[in-house]
């Protein structure tokens, strides 16, 4: 096969390229240039592109750079900023996967005659008990990234390869070391690529939107503190709320951007029996029908969080009502919520947590 492998300059995608090559595929590496602004982190800095190119040279494959910075602004950065204005907690890396890696890039790959797009994600694509291909948990549970690639659906499942999903991280690094790849010991990237380590989220957003101060009130409506930027406040947060020291722990339990009001309360108030999920992508269009019958699922709502039992029901407006088996901490609106089958192996679909 002719495979286009997305190379971030990290060890996983380096080894992904090497594995494909060893399997006899015709491999071309590509690094997407996504963020045109200032940054010192993440996966699209010039030195990361250098690493990707040098690994490609070492493997003897061609390496391309595609400039998708306009698309990245439109689909990732602008929505990230807007979400904060609306009091949401967005997940830009997932939107990048949705719109850039597994849409824009795969569309380009098809146009250029490639048979598949590969990436270094720790996830697999396997056939489930019902004969459907699905994003599947990685062999390395601790590194599993099926959550961040949950939106791969339909035909895209046939077009996507995750060559390192069947390897542990340790095996990946050992492979890179054995091949003498310069990325063998490179640390995993942790941060949002367009947010600088020095300035952080506050500095990034501060240059783009006016921050609004907000009062911090308890559940009875008494003013307890004040924040300078309601846009930076997240459900469940308990620091930086201007509260006096020594008092019992209080958590953000509500963010009302219209009224510029942050509500705090005891941890117990963070727990809820249900939530609603919008913009849901199902791996297969028939999944929604099946879920109307068998609605027991496991729900994961952060990159490395536990998958928790719940019952889901699809409403007429296509949002999904999640009813937890046991009460759970509330998921911040804007976060991605992914549904797994009860064996906790296959991704059924996923969407975005709604404000109540």
């Amino acid at each position: 096969m002719k495979v286009l492998v997305a190379m971030s300059g990290g060890v996983d995608s380096s080894v992904a390229a090497a594995e494909l090559l060893a399997a006899g595929h015709q491999v071309v590496g590509v690094t997407m240039r996504l963020w045109g602004g200032e940054s010192d982190t993440g996966c699209c800095s010039v030195s990361d592109v250098d690493d990707a190119r040098r690994v490609a040279q070492q493997l003897g494959i061609d390496h391309l750079v595609f400039n998708f910075s306009d698309d990245f602004d439109r689909h990732v950065v602008d929505p990230y900023v807007r979400a904060h204005v609306e009091g949401l907690t967005p997940n830009p890396c997932i939107e990048c996967n949705r719109h850039l890696k597994f849409d824009r890039l795969s569309e380009r790959a098809r146009l250029l005659g490639f048979d598949a797009v590969a990436s270094g994600h720790h996830a697999q694509i396997e056939v489930d008990d019902f004969g459907k291909r699905r994003v599947t948990r990685a062999v390395d549970e601790a590194k599993d990234q099926s959550y961040v690639v949950h939106m791969i659906a339909g035909d895209e499942l046939d077009y996507t390869l995750f060559p390192v999903g069947s390897m542990t991280k340790e095996q990946v690094r050992a492979k890179a070391t054995a091949l003498g790849l310069r990325t063998a010991a490179k640390p995993d990237s942790q941060d949002v690529c367009f947010i600088s380590r020095t300035g952080g989220r506050e500095s990034f957003l501060g240059k783009r939107i006016p921050f609004r101060p907000a009062s911090v009130v308890d559940t009875a409506g008494n003013v307890a503190g004040r924040v300078e930027a309601i846009e930076l406040v997240t459900i469940g947060q308990r620091k930086g709320l201007g509260l006096p020291g020594g008092a019992p722990k209080q958590y953000v339990v509500g963010v009302d951007t219209n009224e510029a009001r942050v509500t705090i309360g005891d941890e117990a108030l963070l727990f809820t029996n249900a939530m609603r999920v919008a913009d849901v992508t199902w791996a297969h269009t028939t999944d929604a029908d099946r879920l109307r019958v068998t609605a027991d699922v496991l729900v994961q709502s952060s990159a490395h969080g536990a998958a928790t039992p719940a019952v889901v029901a699809i409403d007429d407006d296509n949002t999904v009502r999640v009813t937890w088996v046991e009460p759970q901490r509330r998921v911040a609106p804007g976060q991605s919520v992914v549904f797994y089958d009860v064996t906790n192996r296959y991704v059924l679909g996923g969407g975005v947590a709604c404000a109540d």
Binding site: T31, R33, C44, V46, V49, R53, L64, V65, F66, N67, S69, R108, R110, L111, L112
Partner: protein, 364 residues
Amino acid sequence: MRPEAIEVMRPYLDGMYANPAGAHRFARQARQAIDEARDEIAAVLGCAAGEVIFTGGGTEADNAAILGAVRRSGGVAVCPAAEHHAVLHCVEHVSGVVVGTDQFGAVDMAALERVLTDESIDVSVVSVMAVNNEVGTITPLREVSRLVRKHRPDALLHSDAVQAACWLDLREVTSLVDSLSLSSHKFGGPKGVGVLTMRAGRHVEPLILGGGQERDRRSGTHNVAGIVATARALAITDTERPSEVARLDVLGARLSSGITAAIDDAITTVPRERRVPGVVHMCFPGVENEALLFLLDESDVCASAASACASGAMEPSHVLAAMGVERALAHGALRMSIGHSTTDADIDRAIDVVVAAVRHLRSR
């Protein structure tokens, strides 16, 4: 590189390796090679040998002229918006004035004149490229020169002539300006060697200080082999220029008409009479040039689209933006360059490959 240029540089990488600034017989050999190269280049440029300064490339030559002028006299640097970044970024760096261009990327004369007649702007250097590197447009330098001399006789008039060497009579360019820059690899010489001319009586602050080479105008040990090869390549370019211009003018026109004949909405960015023969620039609506370049590369046709950033990604062209070309259309820009090694058969193949690639990308 031109084989003749490779040939003449070889001895200076091997037996005649001395530093020309030395005081021994071998140094004198190297020194003589540089003196002769300088004479040869001065003859092509129609200037005095003392007006030729060797640099480490065209970018350095542009930097030396613009930053050097501002450092010497203060004042404001002026250039058009479609200049090469070697000029544009210098002018921006010293908070200079960037003037607009016409629809083909040549400086807007009326806008330039407005700046030159604005008494609140203390213009110390005006830099206008002779030929645009991206779209091939020839600047009416005579008119630029007339305006600058009329309104700002004391300002340094510099021209980035890097893209002009193969196509324009450099004697004429030299006669119209105070300083110009050349880059050796644009005419078949080695990379990393440039030429800056500086008209006698004009002075700029040197960019690079050190041992005082090049009459204190550019320090650093001479790249003897590179300089010798540069002179050879430029001399051959100058000799062959009239016949090559005529030959490539026909080939370039055939390339663009061959493509437009098959793809009727292809846009020829600059008409033949406004551009040099060596640059054929086109835009294909609805096509993304990153994808197009990949397909051309697969078929062994090497072209470009715009300048690349440090990561190697293609940047949206500032030249096309200055010309008023919409961003969406600029994404479909293709720059094809032809030169002394281009044959008739190459043109046929390029037409076939470009047409097939554009059709393929549009079929999806």
